[in-house]
Amino acid sequence: MENFTPYSALLGGALIGLASGLYLLLNGRIAGISGILGNALTSKTPTSDRIEKLAFIVGMIIAPTVILASSPISAQSIVRASWPAIIIAGLIVGFGTRLGSGCTSGHGICGLSRLSARSMVATLCFMGAGVATTYVIRHVIGS
């Protein structure tokens, strides 16, 4: 358990929860990232709505950029997968989150906070599939 970081995990999680809660109170919307990104890309969404969603995405990129540039935080983002795997994973994450109407934020944080049965089922599906896939890659193929 040498990688276990309970305090930064709790603090980061609390900030994510706070951002979701504030977004709901201030703008009246669910902070589901796949929905925000998907709707920002769809021409069916009204322009003012699209700008708001793009603004959220811009905030999501700018804040970590500023933090990484200005503080000695030891955060990393290491991808250990082949190029085909990265592309296939990206495609099915994009397709799957739209088909299932949500991801870790929309179903996981917001949905479970609303005690939605739909989100509970979705969360069990992607958690289960994530655990199974990691198992196969690390212990079946990788062993």
């Binding site: 358990m1 703008n27 739909r118 069990l124």
Partner: protein, 149 residues
């Protein structure tokens, strides 16, 4: 006002993702790798991210239920669907497979763009392509359904 609130909430969200460690795929996979419990290599941190998020978000969602209007204007729009259909399950499973393959889900992948790695950029482009494919497929299915009638 709404745009400003969006940038602010997005920034808060991205900061949370970075601090929590979610923007590191190896940290995420360390959580999904439950089989590593036997060797003491399992990293339960992600459960704490989820717990922290739920504890803070829950009262906001409770409070918002009794409100019709958002503070920055417009209505409070909460999802109304209750049905558990095939798309929800298949979509969730597909997403989970992709998540386990690389360790990125949509939010962390976007915020991890801050690191500037080519792998992240390629993943996000593929993810957006997947969303566009879904949109085109739904439009085609919708048209086919209409012409059948």
């Amino acid at each position: 006002m709404r745009i400003l609130a969006s940038v602010f909430c997005g920034a808060l969200f991205g900061t949370g993702l970075l601090i929590s460690g979610m923007t590191d795929p190896q940290k995420v996979l360390g959580f999904l790798d439950i089989a590593a419990v036997q060797t003491g290599g399992w990293d339960p941190s992600l459960a704490f991210v989820m717990a922290g998020g739920l504890v803070v978000a829950f009262p906001f969602f409770r409070f918002a239920r009794s409100r019709k209007n958002a503070i920055c204007g417009g209505k409070v729009e909460l999802p109304t669907r209750r049905d558990i259909d095939r798309n929800l399950v298949i979509g969730g499973l597909l997403f989970g497979i992709g998540w386990g393959m690389v360790g990125y889900c949509p939010g962390p992948a976007i915020s991890a763009l801050a690191f500037g790695h080519t792998e992240t950029i390629v993943f996000v482009i593929a993810m957006i392509t997947g969303m566009v494919i879904h949109k085109l497929m739904m439009a085609t299915l919708y048209k086919a359904a209409i012409t059948q009638k």
